[in-house]
Symmetry: C2
């Protein structure tokens, strides 16, 4: 790692070093084109080839079926909080939302502008340390769609199953996409802001069952219209070209490291190392219920705010960056996305042991 | 230029070589932080310092008055086509649009979803080779705002004056922002997709008179709400962090080269070189009316489609990229934004002379 730190940021977050190095090496002249990818017209052959390859690579890596289209849209997950109801709510005027964290809550709030929102589950009572079981979901009969957020970045919880519902499933996978195999065919719309496991901030990948498009509300902004984006292959307007290129470099790295199955193996290595230590530790305690633990964001605390602050301070000095928990929760959070090396987590656990020996 | 071509793309387009080189050199470790700007949390001190500096630099470079806020929003100009009426149409339910090209036309079409749109001028009859005079604008009495596009990328025309109107002025400056001094106080909202004169694609800079915010229609997506974006200093959600950083590098380059006054001098050098040649040439002919000529996009043709195609082909082979005109117009277009070196235009004119000698 030499001059680089282990960056445990929840997002934007670490990218593979080799991806950054390749981007740097191609910055002023992309493969003999005489220009940067940043400078290319999106209507030209060179950029079109990049774009097509990224889409094909993502389709292969995630095994996206032909029934589904891959879209690259600007605006991140927050944009989708509006785009989802604007495009899908019209069917029955009502939708089911499972609220297990901050971002699902914001999505549900936004959706209320566009129709009736049924909160079919809420984990507010447990401070979002849990995930509802299938039986706990109070699904309605006439929902246009069922919405949930697969991994709750702030609280460090993750759904370990895909719910069974009558309505099409819409899922925000911003913080765990590409970290394990997913059966895309189960989802009506699956989307992810790219700034955690895919690319620099500024885009969402949207994977949509084409049969669901074309039912948008009349005042839907064109740039939010899934049907338009499908018809124009994400190029109704200038797409975030460079971000797409960066996603392409990340996808090559994912494939070189065993694809999503390889990512899952690394994910399990990283997270079990941390959780096993937390379960043994007398000083540190995991924040989420065991059954709901996230493989991407590990939340923990000492129970003493001053000690938490000291830990974050000393860790930062040692090159473990961004371990402070979200302001909603306090404590600590180690976000261990795909690009976090296993050695980074090992080094963190060693440091936590040292800290415990000194302060336990 | 060594291994780089002269890239006349209409957008995304050339960036200053020194900007790209600096971005490459800081890619894996931004100034001792141990991480790429792409990997930084937007809630951290290091990124906040970058963000604040870019805003301050843009305020200084464009002399933005305190009455106006600077926003960084995702989605480019197309996003603003909806955001403008969603935020501003509510005042009187009606707006004035001057349609002098493709993008103003698309903006007017989008606005019709949200209220009454008066087309106060249209240059369709001249194939958009002209710009209306102040007297030709049939302004209405009760417009919530007056909208125009300052430079028409496709047709190579540019407004050389700011209209006088009762209503607040909304202006799309995507293709001429930072190319000359602008009196920002004259505008209610001034915005620009960044992919021509500022940064890689994926963002719009919005400069808004704060007094105009807070009148959005009830179904405005939160991510499009100017008031929310002002209140949250463009960080309601994760902003396109790296694009903002790139804009910062470009702004430093603009200041090193004399600010917007320096840009205007270079702009005049580049465009007069080309227009002077076109006015002398017996083979090539400028497409726009003289009074409406753009300093950014120079449209021209031979009058013979086969010869146009031959010209583009031979120019490309010589390292003059992307000279083919837009599909709406045919012919040729040389987009000569801020980052196009004067030598690039000189070399192009020399090549055009050679071509004329051979084919005239």
């Amino acid at each position: 790692m030499s001059d680089r730190v282990y960056n445990f940021s929840a997002g934007p977050s670490m990218l593979p070093l080799s991806v950054l190095e390749q981007a740097a090496s191609e910055m002023t002249n992309y493969r003999g084109s005489g220009m940067s990818v940043m400078e290319m017209t999106h209507r030209g052959k060179i950029y079109q080839a990049i774009f097509d390859e990224v889409k094909a690579d993502l389709r292969r890596v995630m095994s996206v079926p032909e029934s589904h289209e891959i879209l690259f849209m600007q605006g991140g997950a927050t944009f989708q909080f509006a785009a989802v109801p604007l495009n899908l709510m019209g069917e029955n005027g009502t939708a089911d939302y499972a609220v297990t964290g901050n971002f699902a809550k914001l999505a549900a709030k936004e959706a209320k502008k566009y129709g009736n929102v049924n909160i079919v589950a809420s984990t507010e009572e447990t401070n979002n340390t849990t995930i509802p079981t299938q039986d706990e979901l109070k699904l309605s009969d006439n929902a246009s769609y069922f919405y949930y957020c697969a991994n709750n970045t702030i609280y460090g919880t993750e759904w370990n199953y895909v719910p069974e519902t009558k309505a099409p499933i819409v899922c925000d996978m911003s913080s765990n996409i590409l970290s394990k195999p997913v059966d895309v065919s189960k989802f009506g719309v699956l989307y992810a802001g790219v700034q955690k496991n895919m690319a620099p901030a500024g885009m969402a990948v949207v994977i949509i069952d084409k049969a669901l498009a074309g039912k948008e509300l009349p005042y839907t902004p064109t740039i939010m219209n899934y049907k338009t984006m499908i018809d124009k292959d994400s190029m109704y307007n200038t797409p975030p070209c460079y971000t797409i290129y960066m996603l392409g470099l990340t996808l090559k790295w994912v494939e070189e490291n065993g694809g999503v199955a390889g990512m899952e193996k690394l994910r399990n290595e990283r997270s079990s190392m941390l959780y096993n230590f937390l379960d043994e530790s007398k000083l540190f305690k995991g924040a989420a219920e065991k059954a709901a633990r996230s493989g991407m964001n590990v939340t923990f605390r000492t129970g003493n705010e001053e000690l938490d602050a000291l830990f974050v301070k000393e860790a930062t000095a040692k090159g473990f960056a961004n371990l402070k928990g979200h302001r909603n929760t306090g404590g600590m959070r180690a976000s261990i996305y795909n690009a976090m090396p296993v050695e980074g987590v090992k080094a963190l656990v060693d440091f936590m042991k040292e800290f415990e020996a000194k302060n336990g």
